[in-house]
């Protein structure tokens, strides 16, 4: 399943939007205009870009605290997303979730968890719901390489396999579990090898290669949608700015990081689109300007938005406030 021109340009638009959002976010952080914890997804744009053109709004997605790229890829409205990151009342979650806990059912972004690996068992629940309701909705759950070492990963893969749930387990292998190198904390060379333990397909692809990523994701989505069951997909990628914004990144060799940044997947995608004649310079410039304008709008909206009132603190704990 090779992506057509529409899919490729859609992917490029998502990747561009993620890259620009991240750049704007880091700029505002560095200038002191906003203050928050931030887990930059810069360098990991291609994986969610593939899903952005393969999933429907009624497909479910679960992601983790490093989730901005997945939020954008699933189509969360930029205004609400930025407002939530800034803790504003008009954010997707009324400012109660924040960057680590974005939920936006309208776009199908159902859960963002701050607990490593915990999204996988919940993703099975969305898969089960679709199966019981007899729909062909699929669920994609994103997690990092580190999450494959926690018990929830193994419980979830086993149950998904036993029940043949329409779930795509998307491991975004950025080669570091917080500050620990993959090889220092993980018993296998490739996370996808772990699929063999559960009798499901395990596929490793270059998560920064748009064509390879699209094809692998499309195969997994088709398999889930047709009722054949789950896939463990591993996209090899790299995060440019450490675990959390501000960490010293001493555990990442400088030359390794430089090489990854030299191979920045978004400009590389741009060069490829032009070289292959998929698009003209004017087409891509128009996409970039459109993303820029959308981000300008979202940032202005979020900066001007109201903060929540302390009166709202005790709302939303239960369906009805307890006495």
């Amino acid at each position: 399943m090779t992506p057509d021109r529409v899919a490729l340009l859609g992917m490029f638009e998502t990747a561009t939007k993620i890259k620009q959002c991240d750049e704007r976010f880091r700029l505002l952080l560095a200038s002191g205009q906003i203050v928050c914890t931030y887990y930059s997804p810069r360098g990991q744009e291609i994986i969610p870009s593939a899903f952005s053109v393969l999933l429907r709004p009624d497909d479910y997605m679960v992601t983790t605290y490093r989730g901005l790229h997945d939020h954008i890829g699933k189509g969360v409205d930029l205004r609400g997303l930025w407002a939530e990151f800034l803790g504003k009342r008009s954010g997707t979650c009324k400012g109660k979730g924040g960057p680590m806990h974005v939920t936006d059912p309208t776009s199908g972004l159902m859960v963002t968890t701050g607990i490593v690996g915990s999204g996988l068992p919940i993703a099975n629940g969305f898969g089960l719901a679709a199966k019981l309701a007899g729909t062909d909705q699929v669920t994609v759950v994103n997690f990092g390489d580190g999450a494959s070492n926690i018990g929830a990963f193994h419980e979830a893969l086993n149950l998904a396999a036993v029940w043949k749930l329409p779930v795509i387990f998307m491991c975004q292998n950025n080669r570091y579990a917080e500050h620990t190198k993959l090889a220092d904390g993980t018993s296998v060379e490739r996370i996808a090898m772990r699929a063999a333990a559960y009798g499901i397909p395990g596929v490793t692809v270059d998560g920064n290669d748009p064509i390879a990523m699209y094809e692998a994701a499309a195969t997994a989505v088709r398999r889930a949608r047709s009722g054949e069951g789950p896939t463990l997909l591993e996209g090899i990628t790299y995060r440019f700015f450490g675990h959390i914004m501000g960490d010293d990144m001493k555990y990442q060799p400088a030359e390794e990081r430089q090489a990854a940044m030299d191979a920045d997947p978004v400009p590389a995608f741009r060069v490829w689109l032009l070289a292959e004649g998929v698009a003209e310079e004017v087409d891509l410039a128009e996409i970039e300007q459109r993303c820029d304008a959308a981000i300008d709008d979202a940032v202005a909206y979020a900066l001007a938005a109201e903060l929540p009132s302390p009166d709202e603190l005790e709302d939303d704990v239960y369906a009805e406030n307890l006495a």
Partner: protein
């Protein structure tokens, strides 16, 4: 002639009342599903037969035996609940909830709040619980205080078969995650259970015995011990009022305070270990609200602060029983 009709009842043990509640909820609402270890009939219908017959009646799509994977059970229940189902997740023993605490406390409890009420998690987690069966330290705990400490959860513990049916029905159709605690020692004691729909709202304590000299606040099977202790106390002229909380979150504090304001003395009794148990919270609440009218300190009686022992004399010494309740009540009255 009176035309008032008492609801028709049938004598059932609590475990059967629980089965009826689930069966009727599943019949009424196709969104109700059951997940848990060995819950389907091909696996025995649950270790205590609480779900016996349900997979035969409602199908194995809706009554699903799972692997021994508590995180996966609760996680799947959470996802399905957000997507519109009303899952009942069975955690075979209360102690095993420790394995799933991340899903229970970080996810089920918090997802409504973290999403600004965009997503609800209407799950019911059923756990068999409690000591008295010589199951030892890892199959006998009462851990309700852990869960009461987490905003977002509701915690419910029935004392009799009728309440088990009515409260479980409320939990299944509640919009929030509920933990429903079933003491195994109560499973096989019969009591009258209303036939057909029976709902006991959460957050409404019941006065099981009226009295004037002290208020004994309890929940779960210890309510019955408190009632028997009250009979013994009455022979000495001490009239205890016995309250059955039925749910700890939400808590019917008004009912508790009304009673203690009248009796001016209070004793809290539960099976869980005393230290940091629910009695500590209740004692503090009563004291904060009624300090000036209390005739003495609020007393607590729970299990000893040890893991649940195996051997019978040790297990009996661990649990608070009728004699200990009588002694504690006397001390409260004599203060």
């Amino acid at each position: 002639m009176s035309t008032a009709t008492e609801p028709q009842t049938v004598m059932l043990p609590m475990v059967a009342a629980i089965n009826r509640a689930i069966d009727e909820a599943m019949t009424k609402d196709p969104r109700v599903i059951v997940l848990g270890e060995d819950v389907a009939d091909s696996e025995g219908g649950g270790v205590y037969k609480a779900t016996m017959g349900l997979s035969t009646t409602h199908g194995t799509d809706r009554v699903r035996s799972t692997p021994i994977s508590e995180q996966a059970i609760v996680g799947a229940a959470i996802g399905a609940a957000i997507a519109g189902f009303r899952p009942i997740a069975e955690i075979m023993m209360f102690d095993f909830i420790a394995v799933a605490m991340d899903q229970v406390c970080n996810h089920a409890a918090k997802l409504r709040y973290m999403s600004g009420s965009q997503t609800a998690v209407p799950i019911t987690i059923r756990c068999s619980a409690g000591a008295g069966m010589q199951f030892g330290a890892q199959h006998s705990d009462m851990l309700e205080a852990w869960l009461c400490h987490v905003p977002g959860l509701k915690v419910v513990i029935p004392s009799n078969p009728a309440d088990a049916k009515g409260l479980l029905t409320s939990c299944i159709f509640d919009e929030d995650p509920c933990v429903f605690v079933e003491q195994t020692m109560s499973y096989f004691l019969p009591g009258p259970v209303p036939v057909g729909e029976h709902v006991v709202p959460l957050g409404q304590a019941a006065v099981r015995r009226e009295g004037t000299d002290l208020t004994i606040v309890s929940y779960g099977r210890q309510v019955n011990d408190c009632l028997r202790a009250s009979d013994a106390l009455a022979q000495d002229g001490i009239e205890a009022e016995v309250l059955d909380l039925r749910s700890l979150v939400p808590l019917d504090l008004d009912r508790v305070l009304t009673s203690v304001a009248k009796t001016r003395r209070a004793l809290v009794v539960h099976e869980a270990v005393t230290r940091c148990g629910f009695g500590a919270e209740l004692s503090a609440q009563i004291t904060e609200h009624l300090f000036d009218s209390l005739a003495g300190p609020v007393a607590r009686l729970g299990a000893k602060n040890v893991p649940v022992p195996y051997s019978m004399p040790l297990e009996r010494a661990y649990l608070p029983g009728r004699a200990e309740i009588v002694d504690a009540a006397r001390r409260v009255v004599e203060h």
